[in-house]
């Protein structure tokens, strides 16, 4: 019997949402279409139309050392071209942002090659070669993992994930990189991810209804789905802790489970 890849236990909505975003066979829903030029501007690593900066010659030029690992791994496009490694960083509100930082890490690692992620309490950085980053950034700004009110694009001064929401339901941002357009009832960015002013406002669309994000969020909360009510998730969390406790530094001596 061939192994069938599993992603996450549990039957609750957050558990299902976790399985869904981690499974690379699931195509994530596209909710908006932010032009690539605007994505590039939001990240602020290069101007639209500007050449990618290189940190090494294209691999095809044959300057790579003779290395069996390099022969095994097919390079991603940016690596082939010698692009710099740049980043996008998302901040996810505790108030039912569609995804939270660890699920971002799991999702990225399950779906993409050639990336590096770092996870903190409020934010999740993803670093990758620049031309690959741009494709990836557009995908994750456009799709269901991004909510214009509860997700932020922030390079620095990232806190706000645990602050209450403002009168328009937006997550706090000390730099006010995005503001509420009351006329269009949507969120527009006026600064890039390191808070440099943008020449033109960039719309990231209308926020989702709270009932909708609450239903599809990966976050367990007492005012949504309490993790303790998902018996299978709780069982596995207990099991992980217990086995680590009993196994200690000598798991080979631990018999049983």
């Amino acid at each position: 019997m061939s192994y069938k890849r599993q992603f996450y236990p549990g039957e609750s909505d957050p558990a299902k949402a976790r399985r869904r975003i981690m499974d690379p066979k699931v195509k994530l829903r596209k909710l908006r279409d932010v032009p690539m030029e605007d994505v590039v501007k939001l990240m602020g690593h290069r101007n639209p139309g500007e050449d990618y900066k290189s940190i090494h010659p294209p691999i095809e030029e044959g300057s790579e050392p003779d290395c069996p690992i390099r022969k095994l791994v097919t390079p991603i496009d940016g690596a082939k071209a010698g692009d710099r490694i740049r980043y996008i960083q998302f901040t996810d509100s505790v108030y039912f942002a569609p995804v939270s930082p660890y699920q971002r890490a799991w999702m990225y690692l399950s779906r993409h090659r050639g990336i590096d992620t770092g996870t903190l309490s409020g934010r999740q950085i993803i670093e990758v070669r620049e031309r690959d980053l741009e494709k990836l950034a557009k995908e994750y700004i456009d799709n269901e993992t991004f909510d214009s009110a509860l997700t932020g694009i922030r390079g620095a001064t990232v806190h706000g994930h645990a602050c209450r929401l403002d009168e328009n339901g937006l997550m706090f941002d000390a730099w006010q990189r995005y503001v509420w357009d009351d006329e269009k009832k949507e969120v527009v960015y006026v600064k890039d991810q390191v808070a440099l002013p943008l020449d033109t406002k960039i719309s990231v669309g209308k926020p989702a209804d709270m009932a909708d994000v609450k239903k599809r969020s990966t976050i367990f909360r007492v005012d949504g789905v309490d993790m303790r009510d998902d018996k299978e998730v709780t069982m596995y969390q207990h099991r992980i802790h217990l086995l680590r406790t009993l196994g200690g530094y000598q798991p080979f001596k631990f018999k049983g489970e």
Binding site: V99, L120, S121, C163, R164, F220, V222, R228, H241, L242
Partner: protein, 552 residues
Amino acid sequence: MAEKEKKFMEAVSKKFTEAPTEVSTSYYKFGGYKQSKSKVAFQDAAMKIAAERGFPMMNEDIGVPLGQRSWMPYQLSHTDIFVEPDDLHCINNPAIQQAWDDIRRTIIVGLDSPHNTIERRLGKEITPETINTYLETVNHTIPGGAVVQEHMAECNPALVYDSYVKVFSGDDEIIDEIDSRFVIDINKLFPEDHAEQLKKAIGSSLMQAVRVPTIVGRVMDGATTSRHAAMQISMAFISAYKLAAGEAAIADFAYAAKHQSITMGTMMPARRARGPNEPGGIPFGYMADIAQSDRAYPDDPGRAALEAVALGAIIYDQIYLGGYMSGGVGFTQYATAAYTDNILEDYVYYAIDQINTKYGGLCKLDPRDAEAVMNLAEDINGYALSSYEKYPAVMETHFGGSQRSTVAAASTGIAGSMATGIADVGVNCWYYSMLEHKERLGRLGFYGFDLQDQCGSANSFAYRSDEGLPMEARGPNYPNYAMNVGHMSGYTGIPKAAHVARGDAFTANPFIRVAFADPALQFDFANITKEIGRGGLREFVPAGERTAVIKG
């Protein structure tokens, strides 16, 4: 049954105008940093300094605009003192500095070995009278007085007034013979049962609690404490017992002071680039003994654990990891979460209620019953995490995930300790909290949590060197804790909670326990958050000041 009034309500109600349960608020309209008296004063001072020196200094208008949210005051837990966050920075707070000064400048030196040398080798009699004479002499030499040479520079008493030597012993008969001005009286300072435990543990040894001047530690380093004590103790013996200054036997006094003594900081490996007797070397059990709440408030085990947490936060997280190891100014905001606003207080007292009502009382839970321990941990951690979720004002108060992770894990760890009386169970519950927290919210703390807290279940019962130690003997220097910013507070509370629950008079070291009971110390280790608050309010008077030798 109606929910109990939350202990954090006063603090969060003072921070925000909205109800603590309200998710929605307003931002960006409060006037920036100008809503903070402290920041306005900083700006005024910095502008004046810049004008005087002719080039820029600090400027609150540089960087991210401060004060985009309503500026939050912080309540020192279990006090009615509110201060601004700036007041809790260790550079701004003289009480926090003095707490570390008092720890660093303390060395406990036995008198038994020098007395043996004097009696057996030098043939002189030791009597209560000679001990009293010695103590009067050493209280002249330790601050910086000369006794042997007639043409000597001495320290200005106004600079070193905080320096002294007192003695203690487990033998009441010896203590009764000594001038009470020089005695740390175990019988008077501790509850009766604790006094008996301590006297039994200390035995008939006569011990000196030596306090070298604060300013000595500031000018030199932690290792100086034993050297200063050794030199001045030797001089006092020479003078009090009329000994020959050049005689080889005198070296025994210095040897005893340097090597048959207890400094607060144990030795650290070279890779930490820190000398002896520095904060990274203080085991959690020692720090728990330095915290004295259970001596002054013996019926309040929760307060005892929480005061130990506060002491761990200021010494380990703010001064050691924030200053010694990281540098910069960023750690205050993180570390203070553990001892402000009665949030951890609320969780810990909830835990004590649950232990008493559901788990048979303190130390009644079988530490070998892993399922029961996990159920307790799930109960306490669930309460802590759901409190953040039910009260957005509390969530925003601890707006960093690392703050919430530490505080939730500290309450869960303290609960495990108190329910079983075993500190290692406590630290195992800490790690339970971390795993559950990450799983529940999909977030935890900064990068370091990935390294330290997600593997910690595996080391919580490890005793082999470099893999683990009993929690009482672990410290910031334990390999897996070397980068555990913000965790040290909770780690200090965990062994304290276990031993307080057991009714123990001390956590790791009875000598340290008694030495820090001394009311002559500058910092009151029985009222740690209050002292920090007094520091913030500019009411605390530290030692080590130089005004006596500055004109004007």
